[in-house]
Structures are given as C-alpha cells and as structure tokens.
Symmetry: D2
Subunit: 348 residues, 4 copies
C-alpha cells in the first residue's frame, strides 16, 4: 500500500502518516520524489484498512498495491482449480462445460422432458430454479422443496448433475442435500451469511457476479467461501448493469480473461441472463466460449412461450442443438473440447 502525500504536505504530516502506519503494526518507508513524497507500507499481508490513513492531514490518496484477496488469487495458487463432479464432469480444465435447463422447474413432465433432450445433446449438467428470487413480490417464486425433489428425480433418470440456486442460509442446506452444485445468485453475491454457509456444506458453489460488482468484489465474495474451507468455487459472469436499454444487462465477456489472469478459479458465462433476449443468447454463448470461458449456463425450455419465468430468453431445444454444434468447433479452435461425459447423439 502506498500513501501519496499532497505536494504541499508538511514534514509533520509525513511523520504522522509514518507513526500511524507503525501504530497499525506495519513498517513505513517514505519515498521522496520530485513533486511529492509517498510513503510505502511494508510488511502487510494485503489486508490493511486504509480508512485510517485516508483521513490524515496532507494525504492525497491511498493506493492499494497488494490485492485485497488472498486464497482466490493466482499468486496464492498458480495451478487452475478443477471442480470435479461424480459423473465425470470437471470445470476448470481443458473441457468447456455446458450447463443447461429451464429457468424454473415447473413440473415433473417439464423437467424430465427437457433433461432427456439435453442429455441426448451431450449436456452433463442440468440447471433449473426451485427457489426463485424475483424483483416483484407478486411474481412466481418457484416450487421450492418440491422443485428440489423433481431435480433429484431428473438426475436419477439421466445421470446429469444438478445446479440450482439457494436464496438464504437455510435454503442452502436443502440445496446441498439435493443438488450437486449450490448456485448463489447475483442479488446475493454479497450476502455474507449465505456465502459462509455455502462454504461449509461440502458441495461446489456456482457464484454469480453481482449486478454491478467489480471483479475484485467478485473475487472477495469467493474469498468468503474459500475462507470457510471450500475451494470448489466456479465464478459466473452474467451481465452487469449498464446504460443501454436494448439488453437487460451488459454481458461483460472481458471479465473472463481478467479473472483468468487474477485467479485460479474457473469462470463460466450466462448469456441467457446476460442478455435477456432469445435471439442474442446464441451469439453471446459462442462469444463466451471464444473468449475462453470454462463453461456456459444456458436457459432452454421445451416450450418457451409457456414458461412460467424468463420465457423470452429461453432457447428452443432445436436452437440449443445448433449452438452445441457451433461451440464444439469454437472450443476446438482454441485447443479445448466440449465436456460430454454422458455421450451425445448428435456427434457423428
């Protein structure tokens, strides 16, 4: 951390900064320059609270030099984290993992129908919401526990792994019991009670980026989970808030190479929520794979116009089948391949 002094800071201001740093338990090194002095903080572990320094006389700004996170950092662990599942799927390695399914679990028929269709296309991870966070209190809130049971039934029937969202600490325990990966949604990225609980349940966690979270904040949220002893975290870019109203969110694909540089954790993209518009899901899903995503999360519904939620952004099964063919080629163009441990009827 570097404390930059104003050009007219007095010697006693600099002394006060040095004294405060020492009082905080670190060592201080003043660095005189042509225009101004800066004071380096030595011996810290990246977790210095800068607030105390920012308010001192003569201080222009406090610049963090060390990253604020630790265990999620690639400097902490160089090798990629591989998140492995019982059915052979592995997120974070050379394979690109497709997770697909409806926005919400609506009925046994619906979820089994789509699960079988997806499996026949080579998909090994099924997504589907049982607990739905909705902006309006009057919108459909999901089937709850019943939805979890139906997802478990789809797993039995197909061998697919299940990922579904938990909305609070109690719900996380239920999800951990039925599902193979606990999803923490964008609205809960900084729900620390939920992050901590998810860190203690022994199941991989899919952590979605908050609607306007910086990448550092996303990594710090993941740090909460790792700090509880759970290293199996998959990050997910799902669109950030922006000023254009043509799409629901702005899918920030540059987050993929940025995260790859900073962290060893895998990162996937969700082009369905990231755009909110069916016709844009396919191009942005392809783009995510081309940008180096470790996987994608795609909403597919057997009958989108009758979906109880997010119908406008759900692909028809036939559109999804075409997407699978395209991303298989794109993955190959960068030396990767699609994860298809359960086999696929569409491959020649």
């Amino acid at each position: 951390m570097l404390v930059v002094m104003r050009h007219n800071a007095r010697p006693e201001d600099i002394q006060a900064v040095v004294a405060t740093i020492k009082d905080m338990g670190y060592d201080a090194r003043p660095i005189p320059g042509g225009h101004r002095t800066a004071v380096g903080i030595i011996g810290n572990d990246g977790r210095v609270d800068s607030a105390r320094l920012e308010g001192l006389e003569g201080v222009l700004e406090v610049i963090p030099v060390t990253q604020p996170y630790k265990q999620v950092s690639r400097e902490w662990r160089e090798a990629e984290t591989l998140v492995r599942f019982p059915n052979g799927t592995c997120i974070g390695g050379n394979e690109v993992v497709v997770m697909a399914g409806p926005c919400s679990v609506e009925s046994e028929g619906q979820i089994l129908d789509i699960a079988h269709q997806l499996r026949s296309l080579g998909v090994a991870v099924l997504r589907g919401g049982a607990f739905k966070p909705r902006t309006s209190p009057y919108a459909f809130q999901g089937l709850g526990m019943k939805g979890l049971e139906l997802l478990a039934r789809a797993r039995e029937a197909t061998g697919m792994m299940i990922v579904t969202e938990a909305l609070d600490a109690e719900g996380a325990s239920a999800v951990a019991e039925y599902a193979d990966m606990i999803q923490i949604g964008t609205r809960n990225m900084q729900n620390y009670a939920l992050l901590r609980r998810a860190g203690r349940l022994g199941k991989p966690v899919l952590l979605k980026r908050g609607m306007s979270a910086t990448i550092d904040e996303l990594l710090l949220a993941a740090e909460y989970i790792l700090a509880e002893g759970n290293d199996d975290v998959v990050l997910c870019e799902r669109g950030v808030r922006s000023f254009d109203t043509h799409t629901r969110n702005l899918l920030d694909l540059s987050a993929i190479p940025v995260v790859k540089g900073l962290s060893h954790l895998p990162i996937v993209a969700d082009p369905s929520h990231g755009t909110g518009i069916r016709s844009m899901v396919t191009p942005m899903a392809r783009a995510a794979v081309a940008a180096g995503a470790d996987g994608i999360l795609v909403e597919v519904h057997p009958d989108p116009p009758r979906a109880l939620s997010d119908g406008a952004q759900s692909l028809y099964p036939a559109q999804f089948a075409e997407l699978m063919q395209q991303i298989r080629v794109i993955a190959n163009s960068i030396g990767r391949k699609l994860n298809e441990p359960l086999g696929s009827s569409t491959r020649g």
Copy 2:
C-alpha cells in the same frame, strides 16, 4: 402494457399476440398506426409478466405502461407516509430528521460518549453498526449482540432512538428486539428472505438503495416489506456505482425528487457512504436537505483516525455541529425545520 409490433409483422403475428394476451387472462386491443401496429393490454393490474410476449414472432418490444409496484406507489396512496417513533421523532413530515453516529459500535465508552455529544447537538436518532457487512472476510465484522446491547444502553442514557443494520433473517429479529428501526443495507436490498422477515417484525425499516439498483427496483424491494403488512419504511439514497474513482460512490440526489413523485414513502440520504470522504460529507449533506430529503444519515466519530471502520468518512463532532447549523437554515429556506424533539444546546 403495450406490445409494439415490427413494421413488417404479419396479421397472424398480431393474432398470436392477441391470443396469448387472452390466454394470460387479459383483454387485448390492437392499435393500428402509420408504420406499425401496437397491441394494448387491458384489464391488467400492473403485474403482467411480459416475458411470454417478448419472445413471440413479430414483436419489437413490450413497453410497461403501468408501474410494476403497487402499495408503495403514490397512485395507491396520495398522502405521505409518516414513520413515528416513541421519542416524538417523525420521518416523512415537515421535519428533517438527522440520524448520526459512528460506523461501528466499538465500546461502551465510545458509543455513550458520541451519543451524549450528538444529543446535545439536537440529534434524536443514533446510528451505529453492530453487525457489519464487509467486502473482505478479513475485515472487522462488528461486535454483534454485544453491540446491540451497547446501543440499547445509549438509548436509555439519552432518549435517542436507535437504528442499526441486520444482515440476515435471524439477525433481524435480534435487531428488532433492541433497536427502534431495522436497517437493511445496500448489499441486501434484494435479499428477499430478509425483506420479508423485516416486514413481519413490527418495527420501522430503513431500506438502503442497492449499489446499482434502479429507483423502480428500490420501490419493488420496499413493496416486499409493505406486502407483509409493514408500512413503516424509510428509503435511503446512499450512492450508486459509477465510473469516476474520486468518490467511493455517486450520491444520486436526484433520486429524492424522483421518489417523492412516485411514492408516498419518506426518503433520506446518507452522504457518508455516498461519498466515502470526510471533506465531502458536509457539502453533500447540505445538498441532500436542499434537494428535499426527509432526513440524513451521517457518520460521526469521537476520534475518526482511530475508528475501527470507515474512519476516513466520519466527521469530527465539531464539523458535525457546524453542519447542523447550516442545514437548519437550509431546511428553513424550503419551509421545513430540523427535528429536535430532545432539545439542543447549540440553538440560541
């Protein structure tokens, strides 16, 4: 709600839209125009899920005409909501209510010291964090239950009302027991489990705007609380995410007149979190009152350089005293006055 068709939409596309609207239980009215046809939805109550329509052939866009919220709307209730407290303070009426105190409760000495100082300046509501949501898992997380007890002691000693944050549903019950107003922080604005719980605890709720929440989303979050039967909600603008790095957030004071136009709920501003910089708290606090805020939330610490959190944005007591004098005049300039039910030693 208005479904706008593409200019080349076919008659059968329009028919499909009409049929879908009827299938959803509403009435449809096609409105032919020069360039295109639009289809109005009649008989809906503002809660139509547009997704099903957006995905239909020939649809250009679906425009919500009715507002998505209901009980929080000024169309639902014209008169201002007045949130009343046992010590005579009332938020939402003609008085501007100042809520002040340290970021975190740190010790009995600290909280009693500042409470007495603030009370002597006329402040009737004490803020202070017991449970602290922190971006980093390694930062100080607050005194927890012990903090609540110390806040209650400060209330006994001064007669001030207490507002403090709850981080999850369980914590909300504890806060409701000790405090006079439950604060829901910016990171939890869409934590629906917490919103619902807060709606059932019989205490006023201070709901902070999410870091990139639209005003409609803020009002929808409040709707979750009102839908549980609790009308005593005070909204709080506390800065939104923006692209400039000179301030921690961008305090959106225009939210104040916008909310006043849309809703009957009171709205206050938090210039401390809204700027993150001590020297900007005073000008922005004045601006908030000038813009018509029903109150302000200000961090004041007896010794900011030694604060355990947010020291850089906490005012010194003397700075706060000067602010009180300035906003007293500003409130008068627009026909309001400061809430000072407990008396003030600084008034002449």
Copy 3:
C-alpha cells in the same frame, strides 16, 4: 408515440394533450385503460419532439414507440449494406474483414514494415493514426499530413486499403483525399460538423461508438451521415465506460447482435481499444467474430514496447498471426469466412 397519463389525470388534462398533439400536426387517439388513459400519436414519422408533451399537466411519461432514426433502420431497408473497396474487400457481407496496423504512423520504416507483415498474413485493410486525439495536451499528437502520405505509400506498396481518423471537418477532407475510409473516433461520435462533412466526401466512414453512447445514439449519429447522402457507413463497437478498472473500457459485444437486429449497416469491433490490454485483445477479438461481427480492428506493432502510443495494447506480429488462424476457424463455425482478397502466406 404514446403519452401515458397519471391515474388521476383529469378529462381536461387529456383534452390538452390531444389538442397539443393536433397543434403539432398529428392525430391523437385516447386509449382508456383500467388504471389510466394513454394517448397514442398517429401519423407521425418517428421524429416527434416529445418535450412539449412531457411538461403538460397530468402526463406521467411519453414513450417513443417509433424508432428515432430512419434511413439506418432495418425497417427502412431490409438488405444488408455492403461497403465495397477498390481492392475487392467488402464489409457487411459474408466475409469477416480484419483491419490491422499500428496505433500511430511513426515513420516510413515502421508503417511499411508492418504493412508488409500484415499483408503476408492476409490482411487487406491497414489502420494507422495520423491525427491522434489524446486525452492530455502533452501527449504525442500524431504525424499529421506526413502520416497520411506515409499511409498512401503503404497502400501503393501493398495494395491494402487505408483507414485513418479525422479529428475535424478540415481534417476529414485531407483524410478523404489520401485514405479509403474515414474513421470518426469515439470522442467525436456526436461532433455533428464532422459527421456532416464526412457524409459529403464520397468515401466510406468508420463510425466508432461514443464512450457512453447508447446504441440508439450510435445509430442517430450514423443517420447524420446517411442524411448527407452517404450510405457507406461501418459502425464500430470499441468499448463503453464502466465501473471496473481492470480494463480501460468494457467491450460491449452484445451491441453486435443488437445492431444487426435494428440496422442494415455493418458493425465491426475494436478489441484493442475495447480492452487496452495486450493479453485480452486475442480472446476478445475471437469473441467478437463468434458474436457475429462483420470485422475487427486490431492494433499490431512491429515493436510494441517502443510504440509512441498505445504500446500496451498492441499485439506482436506473431500473436496476431495466431489470432488470424483462430478466427478463420471461428468464422467457419458460423458459416462465414475471412476476407483475404490479397492472398495469405499462412494459409495451407
């Protein structure tokens, strides 16, 4: 256009809206609903100025239904615009066009060296700045006219087409004389004097999206050029302002499918300015092609560490060669191919 009335609007308010619309020369159609009345404007051509209506008593909001632009719209012209160049390159058709070169023209040796290298890799359009818009008045501002001459010399030597930026109306004439496509940069997207001049010079225009321009504003800026009689406009997504500081801008690839839906104009992406970081240029260039871009604009420098501007985001020639191979496969995966009219030594 739809004028939505407040739920408590009086009949005379609605009458005033109807009268104002008629006074503006259009026809008005009131549409009564359950909660409120809306008034449709009939017979307009999409260019109604809503300001006069927004301020009337009882008006809640004015919703544009018709798009604000006209000639750029896909409703105005269904077929893709094809922008053709003398050397056979065509932007907007089935081929993906790569435009590459250094940020600035620095010397004859530099520009000829890189032009020959790029041509040998199959690139048919050379980019390079002669007039540089710089945030600081003290930064290198380009070689000016001398730079234009060097670019023309590179064209003679290689057969490549030249695209370079004009900063003002006079400069545009000079650029039109020497180059094959006039670039209008992000800072000048709404410099209407420049747009109009560029529309009258008879050369294709590459129009970059402003740093926080909405897609509608980008299309309206293009409309200024088409309104002068020049249909040969290529749009360029180059990153928008966002809140994360890890990249210089946020490359908004979703703009590509959005523009494709709204307009017949071609759209390319600039991953170099869009990220500002060399290691991210390749993944984002691939992603742009996968998302359906009609081309990409990439900075390549023979010796990036010694570049006079933007060295940190320039690819080394070897990195660029690898990128070409990857995007050739990606273009094929979606049924397109790379534009390589001049031949390429790397194709097998």
Copy 4:
C-alpha cells in the same frame, strides 16, 4: 508513477523495467516489499506515457501517482481563479452566479421578453442557444448567426452578459465576437480542435463535462484551453450517464467538492440538462448551491409548452423567481451571496 511487479517477477523483469524507465529519460527506484517489488519513477513531470511499461514482462500494473494535468491543478496554483465580466459579474469568488435563459433563441420577442424578466429578478448572465447540437439530424438546429445577433441585442437592452454554445472551431470565432463567454457542450468536451480554438479567442470559456467523462478527463480538457494561454475557464457539471431511466442524466453534485479539491477553476451546475424534468430543476438547483457550486445554469422560458427545444425541462418565470429566493437563503447559510450586480426588483 509506480510500476507494481507480479509477485513472481524475475530479477531480469525488474531490470528490464528499470532500463525502460531510464530509456524514457527518468530515474527508477526499485522498492522491494514482502510480497512483491514495485519500481518508482523519479524525476518525471506527470506526463509519462505508461503504455510502454504496462506491456513489459512481469508487470502487474502501472499506478499514476502524479496527476495527469498541470495548470488546472490546485497544486499548480493555490488561489481560486476569478473569471470577471464587463458588467461586474465574477465567477469563482464569494458570489453565486445564476445564468439563465431559454434553451434556444427562437425570436427577438422571445429573447428580449425573457431577458427583461430575468434581469428584473437579478440575473446578470443570459444563456440561450444559437447553434444547437441535436441527437437527431431532423430536430431543430437553432437560428445560427441570427441567434447570435439577437443575443447581442438582448445584451444591449439589459446589460446582461451572454453565454452561448459553439459547435466547431469556426463557430467559436463567431460566438467570441458576439458573446461574453463561449460554451463548449458536453458532446464536444473532447473535441480538441474546438478546445484549442476556444483557448485562443480571448473570451472566458464555459466547459461542460462530457456525458461519461471522469473528473480527471474534464480537467484534462480544461488543460487544453489553459495550455493555449486562456485561464478563464468555468467548469460545468451537467449530469452523467447512468442506468436509471427516470431522469435524462444523473446530476453528479459530488463533482463540485471534488473539483474544488483538485483545481482552482470555478465550477457551476446545470440542473436543467442534469435532470431533463421541470419538477426536478428547482430541488437540484438548490442542492447545487448547497453543495458549493459557484453558480448555476438554468433554463427558463416565457412559455415552456411552446418552446422549440427542451420545453419539458424549462422553468416558468414564476418558478424561477421562487428558486431565486430559496437559493439566496441557501447561499447565505454557507457564507456566500447571490451575484446581482444589475439590481433586482424582488429583493425587499
């Protein structure tokens, strides 16, 4: 400037950084730390181009320590810049200067009528557009030279100073001939040809912040004008792009205290464009004065519903009169007063 190395940077990487800095003509000082080494750049004047360093092996990031601007900085000149006008008005001192008038000059009757009304309310600076930058090529573009003549006539008739916008370098010369202050609009904040010309015309310049310009970019744009020898620059906050659609822009009042800390230049606010909605102009104008603005720019029209542009955000004269009374009190509350050199009939 500080070059932060990756924790695993090799000694030869650090050597390469040091060598590059020396090659650039500066001195380098490596600062070893617990986790990583940083390299300080000594002897630079704040104008180092970091791009060359950012791309080197082992470099994590390059952190600017010195500010990128110079003459606009408060470190360059401590005392406030006072921009003085012939009629006694002075911007940047203790007085708060109100600049008011219609969006566009529409006719002699209109401009003289409103000028007389405003003058009788104590306003000494008249604003009004002759050249209008419009997002759509089909919207009213202003009266041009005729508008400048009408403004000059209003000056003769009332003694008020005139501020009006120039759209390009040629127009700036015309504006400088007729008006007392040249306005550079938000779309042209980085139109460097225009900035340079405005810097050479010998008239004060009102420089509006770009729609998504950071404060550093605003100051750098002003630096272009000062670099030409013109110190009389007044900055103007007029709202930045944000994600909420209830207002046209987000008026960033925190820019006022931020600019006051960084620069000696005066800063005013434009609540009319900053909100776009008549009912919000008054509260935000009050808030701007309370936040410490050196002045405000307000649109007032004798008959807003018939305005040719921006009618929805123009105040009625009676609303403006009330605003003047309120801000007179608010200015007093912070030890300032309103600029009223021409006298005012409303002061009692």
